[in-house]
Amino acid sequence: MNAATLLPPLLGLAAAPLFSGLIAKLKARAVGRQGPPLLQGYRDLARLLRKGAVYSRDTTWVFRAGPLLSAVAGAFALFLIPAAGLTAPVAFAGDFLLLAYLLALGRVFTVLAALDTGSSFEGMGASRELLVSTLAEPALFLVLLVLVTQAGELSLSAALAPGAGAHALDAAAPLALAAAALVLLLLAENARVPVDDPTTHLELTMIHEVMVLDHGGPDLALIEYGGALKLWAFAALLVGVALSPAEWHPAVEAGAFLAGMAAVAALVALIESSMARLRLTRVPQFVVVASVLAGFSLLLSFV
Amino acid sequence: MLLALILVPSIAGALALLAPSARVRWLLLVGAGVTQAALVAAAAARTPAPVFGGWLALDPLGLLFLGILSLLFLLVVLYLGWPGAGDGRPERTFAACLLWFLASMTLVTVSQHLALLWAAIEATTLASAPLIYHHHSRRSLEATWKYLLICSVGIALALMGTFLLALSASGGAADHADPLLLGRLLAAAGSLDPDVLRAAFIFLLVGYGTKMGLAPLHTWLPDAHSEAPSPVSALLSGALLNCAFLGVLRGWQVVAAAGLAPFAARWLLIFGLVSIALAGALILGQRDYKRMLAYSSVEHMGILSVGVALGGVGQFGAMLHAVNHSLAKGLLFLTAGNLLVAYNTKSSREVRGVLRALPVSGMLWIVGFLAIAGMPPFGLFLSELTILKSALDAGRFGVAAMFLALLALVFAGMSTIVFRMAQGEPADTAPPVRRERWQAVLSPALLALGLLVLGLYVPPGLGRLLENAAALLGGAP
């Protein structure tokens, strides 16, 4: 294992809150507000980590395991994603399956933790989260299938290696569609507008936030951090897909990666600031669109 | 020896009329049964010499059916020993007719002369009619009347068939003063007039088929079986139907020897499948559990016909099936007798929770059902599989599929009824739990044991006998 390959994941671990902060900042700027400082995410985490914790008398160890596992899963996921022209530290045939199921691991325990409180609000959040994630699961796999069949490789690192998507220009169309699907999935899986709004204050309309109502202190910090890691992972994946046809000098690759991440942040901020939240009943359709895009892309890459 | 086989029960029957008490009559019955069984065992060990110029002789086919008959009879009379005795007490006429019934059926199995065979089969009708009327109720009377009339008419047609058989022999090599001896007919089969032979077989098939219970000629059967005392039903179903079947088989032997097997097979197959289908339809949702068993007999007569018709290994299967069916039906009817005594109703809807109220009978009831439905490890599974195999050997996939589908239909229908009766809590009106008499469950239990053994092990002696019997039908296993 090349030690350099550890750099992107480590960067992710360090910079994930910054990435979230960047989105918030850009989003605020887009609507003409000042927005929170870029490093607000770190401050929040630090503050939360210093706090004590209050646990509901109805909760069990599951409640405590939820935040931890979602953070651990998110952190581990970063090590599976190739970035900046380097292979991922953990790369093997079928590694993206592990990625998908790690995300599922975090999600399942977040949902279970929500159910552990016995609160009707958190149950509601759990129900919605299950709906969205169940629909998103096939879409994610369709996108991954496109990548794998395009490259004929079973490992993400190989499929997204520099130039892997370059063998033919006609691959551009499926890749573009896959990337589009991935954008939608990124929004859906990370509780972003238009699927969910992390900044809303009305519990009845939330999905993700309402699930974590009862968490506080370090647990909440873990949840926030895990969320940031997951967002980073999706963004990195998206950048990887977008850049896979190119083959540059390593330094250029690194720069391109950072630029790509910034572009994703800008894209998310743009979407969030220009769109309203969808009605909850429309959310399934949104996710299904992602599946359709990915399916269409798969069709294109097959024929 | 052959004469003794017939005379012992006949004389015992006459004695039974004179016997002073039920106990003595029962001893007479058991004595006759044991003697008969012993004689049959001896006959199986060493084939007895033909008598009356070959009119009476015991070929493997006859021996097979005779063996079933005597075994079943013995177990039935043993069962009759307990005071409740299912629902049949050995009264004077009852005991006498039972013995004469045995005698006439024995005569059927040993007749080698087709006219004598006819007379014997008619005699079985007459000897058994009073048995069916044993309860002296309106319903049993109706059943008896239908039995008498329908079977007599049917058998009359068989007589016509017998005449035609004689006619087919005229002018040929068998043109003899007495052409109806089976051996002569078979020997001269090649010279028989095929057209007349076909007509003869049709009459024999419809005639004996009526008595055998092939649909749509079976109409008397459910009535008689449900109204007769259960031990008698066991004999009717397990022995009498076989005798009628033997009548058909004798005709088949001649026809097959004359090279007309395909023609006869066609009709046997049609009758067989129609019987299974109709029985299945009438079992579905049947309300009277004895009638259900009766229809099951129709079904199994159909299976026998199909087996014989398919030829090849199917005929071996049919012979094996005849044995198994008789045992299973004996078991079921005797158990049904226990239920009838305990619950005093034949309605399957009013009987509940037998497993809890009468544990042994309940278990036997379920075992009997599983056996009759062709579940392993009971014998009928093997015979049905053999028959199925013969259908596939012959490339008759449609027949095989239909056969299985209809059996499944019967299974679904019967299982609904049987388990609804056996399982659950007994209704409030049900009899209190009490120890069942060992006499009441001994015979059925022995039958169940026999079925289990036949499902896991076919004794070589029986296997040889079955093979020889099947060989007579023109099929080698």
């Binding site: 931890l68 199921y101 069949t149 370090p218 | 009339l149 049709i202 199925l388």
Partner: protein, 657 residues
Amino acid sequence: MILLASAVAALVLGGLGAAVFGRTQRQAAAWGAGAAVLGSLLGLLALPGPLLRATTLTHASPWSVPFGSILLVLDPLSAVFLLATFVLAPVAAWYGASYLRTYERRRPGLPWLFYDLLIASIVVVLVARNGVLFLVAWEAMTLASFFLVTFEDERAEVRRAGWTYLVAAHLGTAFLMLFFAWLAALTGSFDFAAAPGAAALAGSQGWLFALALVGFGTKAGLVPLHVWLPEAHPAAPSHVSVVMSGVMIATGVYGILRAILLLGPLPGAWGLALIVIGAVTGIVGALYALAQGDLKRLLAYSSVENMGIVLLGIGAGVLGAAHGSAAIAALGFGAALLHVLNHALFKGLLFLGAGSVRHAAGTLALDRLGGLAHRMPGTAAMFLLGSAAIIALPPLNGFAGEFPAYLAGLRAAAELPPGGRWGGLLLVVALATTGGLAIVAFVKAAGMAFLGRPRSDGARAAREVEPGLVRPLYVLAAGCVLLGLAPWLGAWAVSAAAASLAGQPATPLLDAARTLGVVAPVLVAVIVAGVLARAWLMRRRRQAVADTWACGYDAPLPRAQYTASSLVAPLTALVPAALRAGVQHVRAPAGYFPAGGRVRAEAGDAFEQRVYRASFLRLRQAAERLRLVQHGRVQWYLLYIFAALLVLLLVEFGRAR
């Protein structure tokens, strides 16, 4: 082979001993469970050779029944399924020994007799190589399990379940009888010859395989042949559900695999067909599972789903073999076998957990449970672990089993010619969809039963069950963890069998497992590090206990919690109407001061109601019409005779001259 024979003998004798000498529950359990443990240990001793060195043991002796012979062969394929049997049977018996004590029965030995017979017949099914012997054992298996299913026959729904099961099993067996008889008609013997070859089968291969698929598929619970399964499995006592769900339905899979070996290489179209059937089974099973309100019914539907996953693997295997890709074949078959083993472990664990729930809380209705994690922590932890395993969360064994299935699908999608590619694609998408739905089902099961607050008095009064009902769970859970952390163990066990099916050494399977074998421990290490870090972080931190925050409302009732049905309502609303067959009984509150209202919802099975029950009713109606034949008028009866005679004469002689 002598070991296996003595295992069967021990089981049969022990069962009989329980029935004869078992006067008390304790004696009966000693005989019955003792025999199961002893028999399984003996049996396990016979397995290493076939599993690891691919040796084959044979025993042949004549049998006097028609076409029968005692031909027993222990090959790697049999050994894999035997392994599952011999692991699950003693654990389930151990559990049953305590579990059955809660029932008062006049003959406590009978359930043990049937239990031991069930195990014994499964063993014989797995080694029999003669059609007759196989069918006898097969039906013995059905019968033994039938009597176990109807153990609580005083309940009407149990009787109904038993009947459905028996009839379904019988129908399935009818297809098998046809299959074996036909095969025998072609090959001349009921003994399974080693692959008679496509030439001997001529054009019959497809038909034969279709028969086997229907017959064995009924046992395996493939949609739409599954309807008996969600009825029967919940009706049986839990330790029996374990054997039925973990091993018995797997014999259906075994049958399909054996048929593949018997019938020779199948064309690729069958691989596609199997994948389609597997996809339908998996998705429909998972959909129904997540809609269930009864914990054991949910688990039963999940068994349907998992058999679908197994079939996906088999389909990939057939596809790979047909296209000459030994790697895909090995991965597919290997994944199927691995999943069978894994499923036995986690489904056993879950059914035992469900049994404990019923034992403690008196109900299995998810809407009446809740909060059991506080009251029975051991059981809850094990159930959660089982749930995590069954939804394939890494690093547990479920993931280790589905991983090679995905790989097979992916490689098929990437490497095979067009026909095969679509199969691979469908496999991956179906597996992912199934997985997503299964997550919902088990989040619901575990979350509603064990987490939150109790929704009924029964759940409130629940206490941890006795050790005899908890410890068996630990054993199975340990198996789940072990096979998750060391997937190469499982792959190793199935590799010989997979190789025999694929025709090539199962190297890709072992490679994949080895990779996971590195990653999974690392993941565990990371998680453990996280746990330690958190503990370090939380040390000397103020931790308070309070009520759940209810957004300002200060008296949240347990009844205000989300219920099991409301949790999945948004998803079930998306299910196509054709698959929905639920019934809702609503008594709405009325008046100005309503006294109360009621809603009772049941998730029915559309296949059961619209296909099977409907056709049975139609059959009944047709039969009702035929009943008119037997109208009681003797004159007409006589006419029947003459009509029959006339018809016969006319047909035979009408045309001539």
